[in-house]
Amino acid sequence: MNLDRNSALIQVEEVYKRFPLPEGKGEFTVLSNISLEVRAGEVVALLGRSGSGKSTLLRIMAGLIPPSQGQVLSNGKPLRGANPDVAMVFQSFALLPWLTVQENVELGLQARGIPKKERRQRALKAIDLVGLDGFESAYPKELSGGMKQRVGFARAFVLEPKVLFMDEPFSALDVLTAENLRGEIDDLWNAGSFPSQSILIVTHNIEEAVFLADRVVILGSNPGRIRGEVKIDLPRPHDRLDPRFKSLVDYIYTIMTNPEIEVTTEMAVQPPVKEQVSSPYAYPLPYARVGGISGLLELIVEQPEGQVDIAELAERLRLSVDDLLPILDAAVLLGFAEVLQGEVHLTEIGRDFATTTILRSKDLFRQQLLERVPVFKSILQTLEEKRSHSMRGEFFLDLWDEHFPHAEAERQFATAIDWGRYAELFEYDALEERLYLAETTPEPVGVGQTPRE
């Protein structure tokens, strides 16, 4: 294993991936100018927010989908079709429920035409390695989530791939099981008995990335691009109690919450590709509900000094970064909060919003929306221009459709409706699928919502 250390096993060269938008409305760029290398003997983590294209990149490197532009080299040769040097562990395990543990593990060997006897032996060895002996003839249904994922690992191990790919392998497990399995995989790796030369793991869990990886590659969103990488220069196994561990986690949190920050590493960082955005519908709204935003702000305001460490916050709320970050983003977008060095603190308005009555917080919300999120002004304008002061929801959905894939456009639409309703800018009739301009004097909003001061 030491012999070919540092030689590149997989190289990604200036890869782009675009998906066609529905109804031939052009294309949606998911990955932009990605260059990346996986070398022998290292663990690389791909870290990025939901939708940044991590899974897409992983699948391109595995040869499951072709890039739109650029190429992937495997062992120095351009990749065509499924990558033979790669085995993958899936988030949802991807086991065939009608095969026993043994048969599932043998699947890849069978496809390679390996005779039955040898298949059996090798599978038993892999099953042993993941600690599942005794379960060879069990069916996946009979296993717990953690054990299912162990089968997933055994199925990949048995092929002795050069690189082991994992797409969020622990995120479908409960916290303790995930912790346990993660630790075991790390032990295997550190003991030098790991059946593959390198690991590439996709995750949105920052701690997990720092714990497992030698190198954390950070992907930015819209379009997915490499923002840079962070070397985890800790002795293996990475000790969570090491102060350096904590500072690395904090540092990465800061990067993840500030799209503008430049990632400093020894590697040259590619400048982020800034798209020329003209339409207000092209700025993505973070997918967060108003209830979530005000809940978060209320939590922070109760902290001494009105600020809190993001990593701690995520830990305390048992929220994955993916669930927490959009809420934070929304708070920042609306000018309620600011993020500095891994700490969130509230602005004046944010503090006001979190502590005042519901009517006034609606006013504040409306004011911030109109001031800071151009799309609401645009929607309002459209509604005002119509004599009926109403418009089909589909009209707006179409506008988003021009900039996002349909599923994302629908999320944008849903978010805008949620915010706009709360701010009493407009109303939405879900049955008729129509937006109505709110009456200029908003009606009293029911019980418990009159000012108490």
Partner: protein
Amino acid sequence: MQTYPSPEALRRLPAGVADVAVVFGTLVLLAAVAQVGEGAFARFQPPAVVPEIDLDPRNLPYYAARSTLRMFIALGFSTLFTLIYGYIAAKSRWAERILIPLLDILQSVPVLGFLSITVTGFIALFPGSLLGLEAASIFAIFTSQVWNMTFSFYQSLRTLPQELLEATTLYRLSGWQRFTQLEVPSAMVGLLWNAMMSFGGGWFFVAASEAISVLNQDYTLPGLGSYVEAAIRAEDLAKLGWALLTMAVVILLVDQLFWRPLIAWSDKFRLEQSAGANAPESWLYDLLTTARIPRLIGDWLSPIGELGDRILSQLSQPRLGSAADPRQQQRQERLFTQVLLVLIGAIFVWIAHFIGTTVGFAEVLLTLGLGLLTLGRVVLLLVLATVIWTPIGVAIGFNPQLARLLQPVVQFLAAFPANFIFPFATLFFIRTHISIEWGSILLMALGAQWYILFNSIAGAQSIPTDLREMAADVGLKGWQRWRQLIIPGIFSAWVTGGVTASGGAWNASIVAEIVTWGSTTLTATGLGTYIAEATAVGDWPRITLGIGMMSLFVVGLNRLFWQRLYQLAEDKYHL
């Protein structure tokens, strides 16, 4: 549901006894098939010598076996067709665009109208032998079963979980391995369920296709259906009763010996990753898994299987992916659509020309009117069946114990061929002087109504208990309770039942609008009668026109009515 003997008892049974039972059972089955099959295939006779049906009830087991064999041969062909057609439609984007709409149309064509066409075709294919008739009957059963199964298989292939697909691609499974390890297993549960339901529907067509008169000639195949036909001609109620009893026994036997074990076996193909609460059980399946012989034979055959797998895998190596230019693809697709449209247009022109030159367009208007009459019957039937059976179904569905008890009964009733009951109803109409114009609605309902009942039960069961408790809590009663809770809750299940019932009713109209008892024939005005009469005299243009018109009604109804209801059910009443 309780099975006897219980699985525990069987497990306690020494494997040796189970083995003896399995060997004995297999031998009996083989002997029976050989005996019956000889009659079906060896006794070739020119069609002029029509085989006599002996009304002695002791012959009934033999006739029943002949009919059952036909059913199973049709099922075999249906399965084969399903695997091939569904696979091609799911794999090729080009083929999909032709095959799926075609399937949609084929599904709507009244199968019984086909009979005349196929009988003549098959008789020409096997001149001077009964095999042609045999094939025509099997073909009629086949066409009644196959479309459902194919749709189910195609749908399963199209909805395979993404990660499973990726796993099999990455692990380089050959096309054959993918097919046997992933695609067929994941489709198995749906496929078997559909096969079982279609098989039940198939008895209707056995009965209808064994004794027919086509092109002024009476054809008879030995079987349960022709026995009933002969009993009707002889006006012999007792014999009819015996036939009814035999039919019931056969349905029960096939269920216990064939479908139950298969369904129990297929439970392992469920895609849900957690263990199901109530796995289906079958005493025969337990017996087979207890015995050692099946396993020994399996082990013994496994090298052969291995070799076969290797050879077929060699032949179906995974192809290297090549990215096609999406723009060029779009252009090709547009061209393809245009060619298709031209072709469809040409077919329409040809049909119009054929009709115009033979029967004339006045006849088209006539069939349209007749179609409207039959449509009226179908609608009335649906309304009546809904008004009568939905409350009963809901009452059953809300009572879990009752539901568990009655659901197999309803399933049995749905499988029981309604045309076995027709003679009794006909006699009743004759005695009470009820006009067949109205009576035919009852005849059509005899088969179709069960789908409404069946789905009402299922729909009511799907309403969550806490919703029902909430309704009781806020004091919803009577009509309010129906409007707010029950109708929305069972709506999508009712739509499913309604589509099936309406399709079944159209098909049944061909045999329900014109019925006989002895020498008396009752004839209702409608499209079904039109087709049946055209078939009897072999009037090709009228047969074509009648079938075409009926297909048009069914397709139109599906498009304009049922599909919208489906949409509504999806959008609004999704639980």
